[in-house]
Symmetry: C2
Subunit: 281 residues, 2 copies
């Protein structure tokens, strides 16, 4: 595995890959790799000649008071895990290069962000879309891999690629979970032991909502109420439980088509999100 | 010359050109072509295998009350002029495709826009940067050609390309002028005969400022005052006369390095801009 630290070197490598007609699968991460990331690498390896991973804790997508400083980091462990997973090129850009002094241009996301995490994290998805625009440009992947745990992020990337006519295919993979159902997340490390025992109830609550829909419930309010009732067992502070069309993230009076039920819960040192996307046929 | 009207067809053509290793020079325009545009085509032809031109009066870069409706248009004449100039591919996208329903993502320009036209045209350069991000993505040019009459636009495109790590080389060409010095502009057609006689004084006034600098003046205020005094002969309403570093567009107390003197004058049905960029050695 080659570790690349500058955009110029990364661009050189991706230009070379394009010329050799190698297909490139790209897994963007913020590091502290877990099985969720590694399953994306696995999928990317199956579908492409070469897998590129980036690790960059993107300051632009953290708001004031959010956990940029306490976001878990362990680059040496990540390098080992990426290599073991079969990543060919690992890109570790610097913040100084991604956001050079006097940088003047950024991406604004004006749709799909007035709900869910977008409501409480203003600017978060602008930061995600800005850094991905840069990274896609440097890496020029054929396919980019994202986990569905961050379903709103997937919806935003879908809009980014379509609105900017980018030559990248978005691949969204199902959420990887612990045995007890808790969605794998780098932030899980920041849960206290008690919170770690409670957190699996987030997914169980969403499953209760999904089960109601499968049994015929079409009123999003009834579904949300049921999820909220179940969520009491999860402890923490419930930030939201919401239900929309997916990936448009539009409110529905009567549930239909592809929809998402999503929740966010704040614990003492970690804010966890999870969701279920299902299609009403 | 091939005329292409959809992004999919244009992308197909540009992918084909990339595969055939043809270099692509791109001239983005809003149409109503004049010698300024055609000189860009000429330059692009000298420096590339294939020249692509686009004509798109971009609604996103016109503010409320600006001249989107009265912006001059004559597509049939433009097609003939482009063909005569040797353009190989003419891209005429639709607003419906460039800004599809529920488009969610745009580019924000946060630097180089708090001065000159950016101050009085809020959102203008966001619109320019957004449409160029889309067009660059669809056309994938090696080089893109812009006229220096729109010097602030050139500065913004420079930032866009660098900040987003785009694979496009910006080529800025000198302003093409009428015999009397008036900068060629599609908007000149909207001047009354009297205004047309007065408008050349814009460039003469800027030249007076440049001459002062060449004779040793280093105080931007003195230069601006002199330009303003000369501008009285230009009629219209002077919107601004400003002087900055270029392309950073930063205020200087003592002029040095590469600098711009720029002016905007509003006539009854046209707002004209012009500038001189010079290097103090």
């Amino acid at each position: 595995m080659q570790v690349i630290k500058t955009a110029a070197k990364m661009k050189e490598a991706s230009t070379h890959l394009k010329k050799s007609q190698k297909s490139v699968g790209y897994v963007p991460t913020m590091g502290y790799l877990h099985e969720g990331h590694l399953s994306l690498v696995e999928k990317a390896k199956r579908e492409n000649d070469i897998v590129v991973m980036s690790i960059f804790v993107n300051p632009l997508q953290f708001g004031p008071g959010e956990d940029f400083d306490s976001y878990p980091r362990d680059v040496n462990r990540d390098i080992q895990l990426a290599e073991e997973a079969g990543v060919e090129l690992l890109f570790l850009p610097s913040a100084a290069e991604m956001y050079r002094e006097n940088h003047a241009v950024s991406v604004s996301v004006n749709g799909r962000t007035d709900v869910l995490c977008g409501r409480t994290r203003p600017g978060h998805f602008d930061g995600v879309a800005t850094v991905l625009t840069k990274l896609f440009s440097i890496i020029a992947p054929d396919k980019a891999y994202f986990g569905m745990k961050d379903a709103q992020q997937v919806a935003v990337v879908d809009a980014l690629i379509h609105d900017f006519f980018m030559d990248v295919e978005l691949v969204a993979s199902k959420t990887i979970r612990e045995k007890d159902g808790l969605a794998k997340s780098s932030r899980n490390i920041n849960l206290s032991p008690i919170e770690r025992d409670q957190a699996p109830y987030i997914y169980q609550s969403l499953q209760a909502g999904a089960a109601m829909i499968e049994q015929g419930e079409r009123d999003p309010k009834a579904v949300i109420s049921a999820v909220l009732a179940h969520l009491e067992a999860a402890g923490g502070n419930v930030e939201y439980v919401e239900c929309y069309s997916y990936p448009e993230l539009k409110k529905q009076d009567v549930l239909s088509g592809k929809i998402i039920i999503a929740a966010a819960v704040k614990y003492s040192k970690a804010r966890l999100i999870d969701n279920i996307v299902l299609t009403i046929s």
